[in-house]
């Protein structure tokens, strides 16, 4: 017999699965709007259930054994879910993000017999399973279900660029799956079990073992590919930019950060006992994270395709999260967990705004949209607020996460990483604010002919009322701002410690209070520079453009869109991780 709170654990995974099987079975009989309603209901129930589970998990992780196969004599026979407070809240956040996305996508996919909802619900179930499981192979299964649903959703528009983006996404993420499976095979051969705790015990017993290091290398590479960390990040911009907007909301809001969430869990729980891995982690994660934050921010600034800009901004923020994990403290990991939620809320809202522009103005090009947003000014206010939040405005969950990550980094003396988190945030904020100023206020130079740049037919369905699309977007932003910081500050030390399987820490340190303001100021300055470059004196403009052209060209050159290049960089990334592991 399973006691009450544990009883709930399978439901958030099973409910979306059952609903999507029902939708598929009865697809041709269901009236038009029913899949929408069913999907929203399923997502809301997942969110509520996960929140209830998280509340109960505050007293300690809840464990559930599937099929009643409880561990016997130290041998783990079945698959278990183990939910700590943080994992529960992350899953609840994901359920809520899906519910709002379904509202946003109301009527978006009319004639497809609920196929869109089926894929999205599978995606949701996989994400919840991914954050709850305590079994290595089960983690892989949910990882793959996520991937497969995502691949199909990306290509939904069937335009040439979305197909190419989806192919790159599929190939790179399939390789990630194979790497992960290889890593699981290695660790299983050495530990003789697939359960997180069982492996952790075996790893702790084993001492320095190349097999453990090799397994970690492969699993970490796979999760970093999902998390779009340099040099694995290339697929993300191709895929997120072309996916339908509601799907991009989910991709950027939860899929990428969930990869890093998995990495945090695996490195804190499974490989906690390996000194080699633990020594390599800070170098690897903080180094790659800082670099990713800067590169993603810089690339975001260069884009004029709004969704591609947001995609690069996601890469930048993924880098900041990775740096937070790299601090290996409750503060860094806790900050990263809050950051996942805050970033998901803000970035989800931004992708919804991009979707609103696609639906109402039939364009996604920043230059072509100049001044066209005046008629939908509420979206402009939302976009400006989201841009400020991205750049670090000290308000809401995203800011709290940022400051905790920065606090953990500064505590350990990682000055460069600290600066990188602020600069990365400022760069992406600058890009979004520049676009908001240009689109909704008509700022910046008149583009003339350039505005006519015809893109592929990218209009998204325009039949939805503006308020219906704007409401979920505003709800996301309001949630980010309204989550009471005291509540998080109170619960987080305990939750982060439980997440990392460490004894509870004291209050978490926050970074310097001036740093967010500095990055907001830098973000505004960057946006202003982008908009009013032609009005500034030449003496200011020339050196800046001179310094930016060569590296910029190199970066654009590297983001070639060629799958062959991506595969080569993937090998380089794995080799880099292996090299760091070998050197410590």
């Amino acid at each position: 017999m399973t006691a009450f709170p544990a009883l709930l654990l399978p439901l958030p995974v099973a409910i979306p699965l059952v609903v999507c099987a029902v939708i598929l079975t009865t697809a041709h009989l269901l009236p038009g709007r029913l899949p929408d309603i069913l999907a929203i209901g399923a997502a809301v129930s997942v969110a509520v259930l996960c929140a209830v589970i998280a509340r109960y998990a505050a007293q300690g992780p809840i464990v559930y054994w599937f099929g009643g196969w409880e561990p016997h004599d130290g041998v783990y026979l079945g698959i278990g879910f183990s939910v700590d407070e943080a994992s529960g809240w992350i899953a609840a956040f994901i359920g809520m993000l899906y519910a709002l996305t379904f509202v946003f996508a109301w009527g978006f996919f009319d004639r497809t017999h609920g196929h869109f909802h089926i894929l999205m619900l599978l995606f949701l179930a996989a994400m919840v399973g991914f954050s709850f499981t305590r079994d290595m192979f089960n983690l892989f299964v949910w990882f793959e279900v996520m991937s497969v649903a995502a691949f199909a959703l990306t290509a939904y528009h069937l335009a040439e660029s979305s197909l190419a983006g989806a192919i790159n996404f599929t190939v790179v993420n399939s390789l990630a799956g194979f790497l992960m499976l290889g890593g699981i095979g290695l660790i299983y051969a050495q530990a003789g079990t697939l359960d997180f705790e069982g492996i952790a015990a075996a790893v702790a017993r084993g001492g320095r073992d190349p097999v453990v290091a090799g397994a970690f290398c492969l699993v970490a590479a796979a999760l970093m590919i999902k998390g779009a960390i340099v040099p694995f990040q290339f697929w993300l911009a191709d895929a997120h930019a072309v996916a339908p907007s509601p799907v991009s909301v989910i991709f950027s809001g939860s899929m990428v950060s969930l990869g890093l969430f998995g990495l945090a869990k695996v490195s804190a729980v499974v490989f906690a006992g390996s000194a080699q891995v633990q020594q390599a982690l800070p170098i690897l994660l903080i180094g790659l994270g800082s670099f990713t934050a800067l590169l993603g921010g810089w690339m975001a600034l260069l884009q004029r395709h709004l969704k591609r800009m947001l995609a690069f901004s996601t890469i930048s923020h993924a880098g900041i999260m990775l740096a937070g994990i790299g601090a290996l403290t409750a503060g860094g990991t806790g900050g990263m967990l809050v950051y996942v939620v805050g970033h998901g809320l803000v970035k989800g809202a931004l992708f919804m705004i991009a979707g609103i522009l696609l639906a109402t103005q039939a364009s996604i090009d920043e230059i072509a949209l100049r001044g066209l947003g005046r008629g939908i000014w509420p979206a402009g206010i939302a976009m400006a607020l989201a841009g400020l939040l991205l750049s670090g405005l000290p308000l809401g969950a995203l800011d709290q996460g940022t400051r905790l990550v920065q606090g953990a980094l500064s505590q350990q003396g990682h000055g460069i990483a600290l600066a990188a988190t602020a600069v990365g945030a400022a760069l992406t904020g600058a890009a979004v604010l520049r676009a908001a100023g240009r689109i909704f206020l008509g700022l910046g130079p008149d583009p003339g002919d350039e505005a006519g740049a015809p893109s592929e037919d990218e209009r998204e369905k325009a039949n939805r009322p503006l308020w219906l699309m704007l409401a979920p977007c505003c709800a996301l932003l309001a949630l980010d701002v309204a989550i009471p910081p005291e509540l998080i500050a109170h619960a987080l030390p305990r939750a982060a410690a439980a997440f990392m399987h460490q004894p509870a820490a004291g209050a978490l340190v926050e970074g310097p209070a001036w740093l967010p303001w500095a990055s907001v100021a830098a973000g505004l300055a960057g946006a202003g520079y982008g908009l009013f470059r032609n009005r500034l004196p030449k003496i200011v403009v020339q050196p800046v453009s001179a310094t930016q052209s060569a590296p910029t060209r190199a970066l654009e050159f590297l983001h070639s869109g060629l799958i062959g290049d991506y595969a080569a960089w993937l090998a380089v990334g794995v080799a880099g991780i292996a090299a760091v592991l070998a050197m410590v």
Binding site: E160, L163, I167, G185, R304, E556, F557, S560
Partner: protein, 135 residues
């Protein structure tokens, strides 16, 4: 001899990755991805094997006969399903890409790049020209 299957797995992954990196045809590329995946089959089955053991099915042999690791076999079964789904999806994408773009060459079908039919970004087109110059 005792590491041969593992070496084969590593080699398979390596050649598969080489094929993906240099492929000029999407169908060939899907095949290469399959080769990479075979590496995981070989690795898992190799790790689960034991000399002198039977398949983990106790029909003709009584329970208790030494058998190979059934967990690895079950994992490979799941892996095969993963492979089937990925191949199907990639082939669909390839079919559609061929219909839209008229080509199966990754170099000709590139996502979100300027210089094809849409001049999306000054910077992008500059970068792309640089890329073409370098080639």
């Amino acid at each position: 001899m005792s590491v041969l299957p593992y070496a084969v797995a590593a080699w398979l992954f390596g050649v598969g990755l080489y094929g993906i990196a240099t492929s000029r045809n999407f169908i060939h590329l899907v095949g290469c991805l399959g080769v990479c995946q075979s590496a995981t089959y070989v690795l898992l089955l190799g790790l689960g094997y034991r000399w002198g053991s039977i398949a983990p099915i106790f029909y003709d042999h009584p329970p208790g006969t030494p058998a190979v690791d059934p967990v690895m076999q079950a994992l490979v079964l799941t892996d095969i399903v993963v492979g089937a789904t990925l191949t199907a999806l990639l082939l669909v994408l390839t079919v559609q890409a061929h219909k839209r773009g008229g080509s199966l060459d990754p170099e000709k079908l590139r996502p979100m790049r300027a210089g094809r039919k849409s001049g999306r970004s000054q910077d992008t087109s500059r970068g792309d020209e640089a890329a073409r110059g370098a080639r």
